[in-house]
């Protein structure tokens, strides 16, 4: 997953930066989209993964679910922060403001705080099982924010543009911009998956190390 992700990212970023056309209205600042859109997609998709892990933890007590949720949280928060920051870097030259309290932007900020809250709750208890349970409940309550993010541009009159790519309709952008965007999105998705998998593997090993050390201490 690491190498395909790196190759796709190199192709997508190079394509988006140097070979895709500038927008007639936005000029070259449209190139920020090749970073902003994949990070926005991963911020939401990562939260879906977090919610699935939380559900598995609460309902089926899956032993890996808490570990995976704990490792998705910081990575999701990082991608949400990238989305917010790159959106801000696009907003300043286009809207004339770094930030507006627009429904899409605000709901993404709430997502960022949900990720931070989840990570903080995981570590807030002396008993890690109680921490994981509290964090899982917060993650499941926070799922309500996902449709708000998705439909915010339809439900409210927002400064943020509407959906350009939909499942049912033709894309609202030129094919020369769509392809590098898709390649970047797949590349960033692979990178996100590789980071989460590496962190989860490390967490499994760390748990085993703790168990072995405690067993050794009890025997001594």
């Amino acid at each position: 997953m690491t190498w395909p992700g790196l190759i796709l990212l190199a192709i997508g970023i190079g394509w988006g930066l140097f070979f895709s056309p500038a927008d007639w209205q936005q000029g070259d600042s449209v190139r920020i989209m090749y970073i902003h859109v994949p990070s926005a997609w991963l911020a939401s998709a990562g939260y879906v993964g977090l919610a699935i892990c939380s559900l598995s933890s609460l309902v089926w007590r899956h032993p890996l679910a808490d570990l995976a949720a704990a490792e998705i949280g910081p990575v999701g928060a990082a991608f949400t922060a990238i989305c917010l920051a790159t959106g801000s870097l696009w907003g300043k030259p286009m809207w004339g403001a770094w930030w507006v309290w627009d429904a899409r932007l605000t709901s993404m900020l709430v997502l960022f705080f949900l990720y931070l809250g989840h990570t903080a709750l995981m570590q807030a208890f002396d008993d890690p099982v109680r921490g994981a349970r509290a964090a899982a409940i917060l993650a499941l309550v926070g799922v309500i924010n996902l449709p708000i993010i998705k439909f915010s541009v339809q439900w409210w009159n927002t400064l943020h543009q509407g959906n350009t790519i939909t499942l049912t309709g033709a894309p609202g952008m030129h094919i020369d911009m769509l392809w590098p965007l898709l390649v970047c999105t797949v590349g960033f998705t692979f990178a996100f998956g590789a980071i989460v998998l590496a962190r989860t593997r490390a967490a499994v090993m760390e748990r085993r190390i703790r168990g072995l050390l405690m067993a050794q201490a009890e025997r001594a």
């Binding site: 990212l9 500038a22 070259d28 970073i35 990082a78 790159t86 990178a191 980071i195 590496a198």
Partner: protein, 45 residues
């Protein structure tokens, strides 16, 4: 290229932050593997 400082900052952040995150994760994994190899008899077989 128009808006170059904004584009440069966005790409530096969008590529740099995941790269740092990936490097830290990789280092954590290698450290855990090394520590486990020392204390877990199954790992040294």
């Amino acid at each position: 290229m128009t808006h170059l400082p904004f584009i440069t900052a966005a790409y530096a952040l969008g590529v740099g932050a995941p790269a740092v995150l990936a490097l830290l994760s990789w280092r954590r994994l290698k450290l855990a593997q090394k520590r486990l190899a020392v204390i877990d008899p199954r790992m040294s077989r």
